[in-house]
Symmetry: none
Subunit: 224 residues, 2 copies
DNA sequence: ATTCCGCTTAACAATTTGATAATACTATAA
DNA sequence: TTATAGTATTATCAAATTGTTAAGCGGAAT
């Protein structure tokens, strides 16, 4: 599993660095770590991360300063930045967001929160900036409501589109059948289990790609 | 740096208000903030904003209600409205667009997304109001109110013109039926679904081009 | 007053979509 | 191996959606 995303972490506490690095690598991210703000600024230039996690309290330049310096450079205008704060300090949180961070995390960081925030940010980035989900050669445009593979348009019916769109929104993630039902059919409508299968089948047929995997007894996942 | 544009923000969470206000002021906008829907309606009259950002979930009148009330008043027909939603809830998003909003933002709002969306909306506004839209060989002149294909004038009735004009304003984008109704007929008037079809048909007939695609169960899109 | 034109709707046809049942298949555990 | 649970496939029917035509209405122009 490799997401192809690079994350730079700056924190002066070795324990934190280790925990974050371990977990994020396990999620398929490429990770670099540094111990203070100045190193963060340097490393950011060479490493070109997609996401930077900055501890607020660091010796030398603190996280907020680093963030401001980064945001001044055009190369990091679009880079995601998450602050790490020792406690849920509200004023700090606001200062963080004001200085151009995209989110914040409070320490100690639970692995669940960590991975969900990180993946949510990446998802949001691709979704909001373009409205287009792209996985490999497959493009899903929610606004234009079309799907194309290597430039070739593929016509999907509404439910098929929504289903594929959902699965592809988080490649690799296994969507439980219930999750799919709730997302696409809502809680009011009740349809049989076979219905999902049939739609999945139609998508597979139309895409003619081996990209939707069945996880028996669990659900489906999308992966190219 | 001063854009001369006024933005009104309505949200019950002080943190959000503060962050948005700070960032938008930094971008050169004049900002006013209110804490609920009723205040938003009042303030809108005196402040005459160019853009209104409405939280969907607010005590008293919610954002969607406020939007509908605003859109009923001629003074706010052209005002830009953005919804703020707590989560990336797609059904809310669609409801928002259907009720006449121009865009939506999911909270927490990254500063990057915020400024890009806002400036994009203003850009679109000035573009549309001055409007000569050209897509391939097709020209739509909003001021002269005429359409021509390869120099040849095509006479369209008002509704037909507006409909084509709307669809062509964003080629490729699928316009939901409700979106179309809100944009062209407004929220007060209620017309049947067939009405849209008939106008679409007439446009297709008159243009004699295969440029309006039906996306069944979703809406229509324009593409040459 | 009459005619023309644009807008809307009703009515029906045509089409597409979605859901289900019935059946076949497949991996796994007993 | 066989039983079993879960999934795949297929055909079919009902429902949803859209296309088309014609007709009615009302305002503007003649």
């Amino acid at each position: 599993m490799n997401t192809g995303k690079k994350i730079l972490i700056a924190d002066d506490e070795p324990d934190i660095l280790e925990i974050l690095e371990f977990n994020l690598k396990a999620e398929g991210y490429e990770v670099a770590t540094v111990k203070n703000g100045d190193q963060a600024l340097e490393k950011a230039k060479t490493f070109q991360p997609d996401l930077i996690m900055l501890d607020i309290m660091m010796p030398g330049k603190n996280g907020i300063e680093v963030c401001n310096l980064l945001r001044m450079q055009p190369a990091f205008k679009k880079t995601l930045i998450i602050f790490l704060t020792a406690m849920s300090d509200e004023s700090t949180e606001i200062k963080g967001l004001e200085s151009g961070a995209d989110d914040y995390l409070t320490k100690p960081v639970s692995t669940k929160v960590l991975s969900s925030k990180v993946s949510a940010l990446f998802r949001r980035l691709t979704k909001e900036s373009t409205g287009v989900v792209q996985v490999g050669d497959l493009m899903i445009d929610r606004e234009k409501y079309n799907v194309s593979y290597r430039g070739e348009d593929i016509v999907l019916a509404r439910k098929e589109f929504e289903l594929l769109s959902l699965l592809a929104s988080k490649p690799g993630k296994v969507f439980l059948r219930n999750e799919i039902l709730n997302q696409i059919w809502g809680t009011e409508v009740i349809v049989g289990d076979r219905t999902i299968d049939v739609h999945i089948r139609k998508i597979r047929q139309k895409l003619n790609l081996d990209c939707i995997t069945t996880v028996k007894g669990v659900g489906y996942k999308f992966e190219l």
